[in-house]
Symmetry: C2
Subunit: 251 residues, 2 copies
Amino acid sequence: MIQSVDRAMRVLAVLRGRRMSLGEMAGRLDLAPSTVHGIVRTLVDHGMVVQEPDSGHYRLGPATLQLGNVYLDTLELRARVAGWAPELARRTGCAVRAAVPLLLADRQEVVVVAHEPRPDGTRQMPEVGIVIPAHACALGKALLAFGPDPSGTLPSMTADTITDPAALAADLARVRATGIAAEAEEAVLGECGLAAPLADATGLAGAIGLVTPVSGWPLPASAVDALRDTARAVSRELGGAAWPPAEARSA
Amino acid sequence: MIQSVDRAMRVLAVLRGRRMSLGEMAGRLDLAPSTVHGIVRTLVDHGMVVQEPDSGHYRLGPATLQLGNVYLDTLELRARVAGWAPELARRTGCAVRAAVPLLLADRQEVVVVAHEPRPDGTRQMPEVGIVIPAHACALGKALLAFGPDPSGTLPSMTADTITDPAALAADLARVRATGIAAEAEEAVLGECGLAAPLADATGLAGAIGLVTPVSGWPLPASAVDALRDTARAVSRELGGAAWPPAEARSA
DNA sequence: GCAGATCATTCGACATCATCGAAGATTGTT
DNA sequence: AACAATCTTCGATGATGTCGAATGATCTGC
């Protein structure tokens, strides 16, 4: 691992939180201000960071947006999901989301890569790009059940977030048994959902899920069937050999 | 400028094009494969790059999407535009876009940060995150007219793209005189548009524009008025002192 | 089924290059 | 007007990234 590159990524990570002064970044990263300055200067040259002209503070730059957009455009999982999501949304009346795992050193999260709005014509915020702790949402639990073991802390998002490792393990066992993960107001108040894993040729590729307001919860069995059918269809298109995918339970 | 961080950014830039093998990246960057390996390994650890399990090739990773999303969420220009875009789209019947400049060493481009679909109910691809050469689109010309002088080459996108620096300079003079930039099939076949600069407290902040199929071109004078009014309103909300913004014609 | 090629990865020595602390410049504040 | 808090620059030090060659794995073609 190259030290300066690692530090540059840490700089971007802290800037994910909020705009910051150079000194604050240096303190947070426990580095000399001049060291951080050299790094951010390089990032500024590439558009990854911008410096506000008035305050001198730094924030993320437009080049990050371009990178994220390229990632989305080249993601086969997203393209395959896009072909099936409208019908799934129509059949279930729910919004449809797809996500891929974002496994970092100490954090297990999911990032939403596709979003089909609820088919009721209301105006909904596109949620592509948002990141959710894996243990707190159906998409994440579908990934954890068939992916690596949960590790790290389980931060609480709402009153119903599962924060006990044993309770989470029990929940994941249910997911493995049925192929379907559920979540009720564990990440966002008023939001519930189901999710199923997606397989590709190499194993676990992501997850697809339904999201509904708590008023529509629990979802009818027909929605579960539609979700499972769609997950199986998308997985086949992705080259997945089996569904649910084989459990790759290794660190 | 820190060498290894600069190289890491170049790696990401190369991966913007397409997935690649390690050797191909090394050749393109004129570096030793082992050097690139150390860099990409570090980027992989942070989720900025992923390695395809089967082929060993590298592609951009999900962390790029998160960064881009955070950038969007914290962009005040986007939030202000979002407040005015629906009405502008309704009044003009056009799709509305907003963009910010992406000024790198040798490339002058714009990146779209907001997109309000054409209000005809058709299904349209959200174009947030796409990057367009500044000289080839109305948004870019609105930025170039009130920003730094054009530099670098003028790549051709369509048969009507302005590739002659003198012709571009003449066009930009017209933009400065009227505050409105126009473009007809210069970036994408069948797409035309208008754009106006957006000012904030520090000067030029971005641009807002209308996009219409060529069948709706030219747009009526009422659309020009609506666009100018909106640009002025957004600029005032952003703290802009004057509209159009003062011309900061310095490299 | 074997040989060759191609690729990612590891390793170690060298010298470059990033790091750090202090000083300078600029701005906003009391 | 003096102070405080910024960002920024600079130069010496040695830690660290770079490179080339060797290794191992994978795939291709015969």
